[in-house]
């Protein structure tokens, strides 16, 4: 039995409504408790900020396209391959770090969980191999469904029950966590070199629209009562004027009610909203649509979003939105990687340089910040960089500095080469809001935990919850005033407790912890139709046999299985 008292820390915990009070936190083994014995080890947290472990809601950290990004970009390692003293392995990569660096860096910043945002079912084994090798942090992965032939066929006939049964089967086969949808219909169209840019474009051959796919998958998700909602990357990403497509897509959730036993309230999570909130008709008259989009999100309580903040770095874009990566390659002419995956999805990878001297990129930076700053409810808006698409996750401390300090933000805004253009194309200059530590705890801990259906055990510091705790060298009474100081404070925790064990101390990794893989086991009634379709598709169209498709549990040595019973649905 190990016990700790985290003494005199300034605690920020939206789960209990604690806003910086001086408070002791007690830890026994892997849980937070009410009290501990006299032999407990004392951690002095005086003048330090104490929060739950942070939860990454959307990042591309493991799997085939992530790894393609790694190995086809040796240049990403040229200035960043090193080993720190101690128990860590060699760490490499800037925009797409190796698995070791990914685990260490998240932990050093106070994160204890990351959601891999897009897992092609056929490549699930690869995703889990990488998750297995990523140290410290817990992880889960969302299989992609929005262009899957089974789904397209079932939803064309509005067969929600079959859709749900197939989703349950895939979650079990791939050890997946929920329902990810990327450019619904558009990626299937991409297999013929086409796309669906509006939610009413019919998908070639399958004769179904993106709107029908979104609506149907939302219904199937609630039919199953999964811990997480449908997780949507809308059509028409990254194009001027796309905010109308975004609003149309979000409106599909109107009237849909969340049905689950996990305390989740949203039915649609709209991801990297920054990329979907543009006005204008071309890159010349490009403008921010963040205000319009966020006004809608603020009103519509059954939605959650994450930001997708541009960090103004050289990075590597990667998405299952295959046609978008081809389009992007046409814009910047950097090397293009593409894989179309039989019956399921596709993915593309293109390096990208968000040059701050370019008015569009600087405006994208502003749009991302506007989205967070316009959010009325920090429990429904989460900070991400859509790692590595808008920037590497290692830049979170810098994003926090822009959000938490008007001064730091304006310094950046006003020193852009084309500052005037950025200021006129966006509304950022007029926003005075500064995100507080309490709001940050909601946007990076309590909120994502609730959105993912993990709020019972994660995202807070209430006795009974899991002892994932981050302690920062930040005195809330003397909050650092410069950008570099804020960044430094969030980049290296004073302590990180993961499952009640100290894994990081003074920014140094001291223990690899007990990393877990989360997946959802949804039970449905036996469904002969779906099992027949599975059999037939494997016999006739897949290039692997059905019996070689499933990912065995041995790939997730420390499983955290969340069971859902949809047999009575």
């Amino acid at each position: 039995m190990s016990e700790y008292i985290i003494k005199n820390g300034r605690v920020f915990d939206p789960v209990q409504g604690i806003k910086g009070d001086k408070k002791d936190i007690f830890v026994r083994d892997d849980k937070i408790v009410d009290s501990v014995g006299s032999g407990a080890k004392i951690i002095d947290a005086r003048d330090k900020t104490v929060m739950a472990g942070a939860i990454e809601v959307h990042a591309h950290v493991a799997g085939p396209k992530v790894n393609a990004g790694r190995w086809y970009r040796p240049e990403d390692k040229h200035f960043d391959s090193h080993k720190t003293a101690g128990i860590t392995r060699i760490e490499g990569g800037k925009s797409i770090p190796t698995v070791f660096k990914t685990g260490y860096e998240y932990a050093r910043m106070g994160f204890t969980f990351a959601m891999e945002a897009a897992m092609p079912p056929l490549y699930a084994r690869h995703v889990h191999e990488e998750i297995h090798d990523t140290p410290i942090i817990d992880e889960a992965a969302l299989p992609v469904f929005g262009n899957n032939w089974f789904i397209l066929e079932y939803l064309k006939n509005q067969e929600i029950e079959n859709t749900a049964a197939y989703i349950a089967w895939i979650l079990n086969q791939t050890k997946g966590y929920g329902v990810k949808v990327v450019n619904p219909g558009g990626t299937e169209a991409w297999a013929w070199g086409l796309n669906c840019l509006s939610i009413h474009d019919p998908v070639p051959y399958f004769d179904i629209t993106p709107a029908e796919i979104i609506t149907g998958l939302m219904a199937a998700n609630e039919y199953l009562g999964l811990p997480h909602s449908m997780h949507l990357h809308q059509n028409n990403l990254g194009n001027p004027g796309n905010y109308t497509t975004t609003l149309e897509s979000l409106k599909l959730a109107e009237g849909v009610k969340a049905k689950n036993n996990f305390g989740r309230e949203q039915v649609l999570h709209s991801t990297h909203l920054q990329f979907h909130s543009y006005k204008g008709t071309n890159w010349g008259d490009f403008e921010s649509g963040a205000k319009e989009v966020m006004d809608y999100v603020n009103r519509q309580k059954n939605l959650t979003i994450d930001t997708g903040n541009v960090t103004l770095d050289e990075t590597t874009t990667m998405t299952a939105d295959g046609p978008f990566e081809h389009h992007l390659h046409g814009l910047n002419h950097l090397k293009w990687f593409n894989v179309d995956v039989e019956l399921e999805t596709a993915a593309g990878v293109v390096p990208f340089i968000y040059d701050p001297n370019n008015a569009v990129f600087a405006s994208q930076w502003a749009v991302g910040l506007e989205i967070a700053l316009y959010a009325n409810d920090p429990m429904r808006c989460f900070i991400t960089t859509d790692h590595p698409n808008a920037g590497p996750f290692t830049r979170y401390p810098r994003v926090y500095s822009w959000l938490m300090s008007k001064k730091v933000r304006d310094e950046r805004l006003n020193t852009f080469k084309k500052a005037d253009k950025v200021i006129s194309a966006t509304t950022l200059a007029n926003i005075d809001r500064e995100i507080t530590l309490y709001e940050l705890a909601a946007m990076t801990r309590a909120g994502p935990a609730k959105c993912l259906g993990l709020s019972k055990d994660y995202g807070g510091l209430k006795p009974g919850m899991n002892a994932d705790i981050a302690i920062y060298n930040i005195n809330p009474d003397k909050f650092p005033s410069t950008g570099p100081e804020i960044e430094k404070a969030f980049a290296h925790v004073a302590y990180l407790f993961k499952d009640g064990k100290i894994c990081v101390e003074d920014g140094r990794v001291v223990d690899m912890g007990h990393k877990k893989t989360f997946w959802v086991d949804a039970k449905v009634n036996a469904n002969k139709q779906v099992m027949h379709d599975v059999r037939e598709k494997f016999l006739r169209y897949y290039s692997v046999n059905e019996n070689n498709y499933s990912v065995p549990e041995s790939y997730a040595p420390h499983q955290h299985i969340i069971s859902v019973d949809a047999t009575q649905a």
Partner: protein, 441 residues
């Protein structure tokens, strides 16, 4: 009663067929028959019961003969060699599981070794090209379900990947390709009339060494620009005709092999083939894929990728950073320059594939070879450690040529007392730890 094991994965080539049926004796010790496999794949399973198989490590004596030693002795010798050597080449990995590779990399990082795989003498030039220009590709099921134009360029799957054509690329009927072979137009570009060329609708005989020129001419023709009368022995009318036909494809794919990677131009040949594919995507959908050889060479690239960020030739000898530079950290160059102090070969036979000078250099260094069988490399090694056949006697993850991961299956028990790669490497790793804790060998 003999029993049948179904859905068995063939551990021979990058096609990674997963529909084999293997008949196994009652006691789980002997393979009695193999169905669905090609001749080479079947042989891989039949090897398992070959008489005279080495079942214990062997150490070479001063007179050149080999003496049987225990696994413990072999492990101790190997660990000491690794710890003592300041720069060890740890080459191979293409015929073992990803789990075993992972343990090998852990050892390499501790002792400061170079990890390299068969790509170094195979599709390494393709990997360099992809590092330069990316690659638009797809899974093999996409080819089966959609492709109506298939080009085999400088490769001969009829011999090297015997079931590729029937499973994925020429004959199968897929969702949008219900006519199978009849609905596809097959091109074969080669300087020789191969058995693959016999299956093609159109054989383009190219002058040896003119691949870059012909690919460039196809790009030029696709853009409607002027061409000389012939390019690489192919008349310009033909080139325009092909370019037009490729643009009219619904879904096209180029498969390429050693005929591109190892002729004049090497990575530049692949580079321009990729660029042709990219250009064709302005008109229709096109993909390109390397015909990877060893069944899990792709897996080695993947594991190295996620652990260090490079697909082959990863130099960990500095111990605090990973480096990858073709010509500098590649096996053949390291051996030719006499830059390594010891060699550790596993799951591949460099003796059969490397240039002779590289192997002469290798033969003068302390060498350990881990392989189920006697091969060219074991015969120039100080120690040969036999192991279970991965994919036959033990399972483990492998990656197909299109990077699709498939778990190989165990169908029979390994011979009594023979370790698997994972078990052996784990023990070597533990011994290395002990030695390092004691301050070296």
């Amino acid at each position: 009663m003999p029993k049948e094991v179904t859905d068995v994965i063939c551990p021979f080539c990058g096609t990674l067929c997963d529909d084999l049926i293997v008949t196994v004796s009652d006691d789980n010790k002997t393979i009695l028959g193999v169905k669905n496999a090609c001749a080479i794949g079947a042989e891989k399973f039949n090897h398992q019961r070959m008489p005279g198989r080495v079942k214990r490590p062997r150490m070479r004596q001063a007179d050149g003969s080999y003496k049987e030693i225990t696994y413990d002795e072999a492990i101790d010798w190997t660990a000491k060699m690794l710890v003592k050597s300041r720069k060890t080449l740890m080459y191979g990995w293409a015929s073992t599981s990803c789990q075993a590779m992972s343990i090998g990399h852990d050892i390499a990082e501790k002792v400061g070794a170079i990890v390299d795989n068969c790509a170094t003498v195979c599709h390494g030039s393709s990997l360099i090209a992809i590092e330069d220009v990316g690659v638009p590709s797809c899974t093999l099921g996409e080819v089966k379900n959609r492709a109506d134009r298939v080009i085999f360029w400088g490769c001969n799957p009829a011999h090297a990947h015997p079931r590729h054509m029937s499973r994925y690329s020429i004959f199968p009927r897929g969702f949008f390709t219900v006519k199978g072979h009849k609905g596809r137009k097959i091109y074969c570009v080669d300087c020789r009339y191969t058995d693959t060329a016999k299956c093609a609708d159109e054989f383009i005989q190219i002058q040896q060494g003119f691949d870059y020129e012909l690919l460039d001419a196809l790009r030029t023709a696709a853009r409607g620009e002027a061409l000389p009368d012939t390019v690489g022995g192919v008349p310009k009318e033909k080139i325009y005709e092909i370019a037009e036909d490729l643009k009219n494809a619904r879904f096209g794919v180029i498969f390429f092999g050693m005929g591109l990677t190892h002729t004049m131009g090497r990575n530049h040949n692949i580079d321009i083939a990729i660029n042709l594919t990219r250009d064709l995507n302005d008109y229709t959908k096109f993909a390109i894929m390397a015909m990877r050889g060893h069944w899990n060479v792709t897996g080695s690239g993947q594991v190295l990728g996620w652990q260090y960020g490079f697909p082959y030739a990863v130099d960990l000898s500095r111990r605090d950073q990973a480096r990858h530079q073709t010509g500098e950290t590649t096996s053949v160059d390291l051996l030719n320059r006499n830059e390594v102090e010891a060699c550790f070969y596993i799951a591949t036979d460099p003796g059969a594939h490397f240039p002779v000078n590289a192997m002469i250099s290798s033969s003068r260094k302390p060498t350990v070879t881990v392989d189920p069988h006697i091969n060219c490399t074991t015969e120039i090694s100080d120690i040969h450690i036999p192991v279970a056949l991965v994919g036959v006697e033990v399972g483990g993850c492998a990656y197909r040529m299109d990077n699709v991961p498939i778990e190989t299956r165990k169908v029979v028990d390994p011979p009594e007392g023979v370790l698997t790669d994972e078990e052996l490497l784990t023990k070597i790793n533990q011994r290395v730890d002990e030695l390092l804790a004691q301050g070296g060998a």
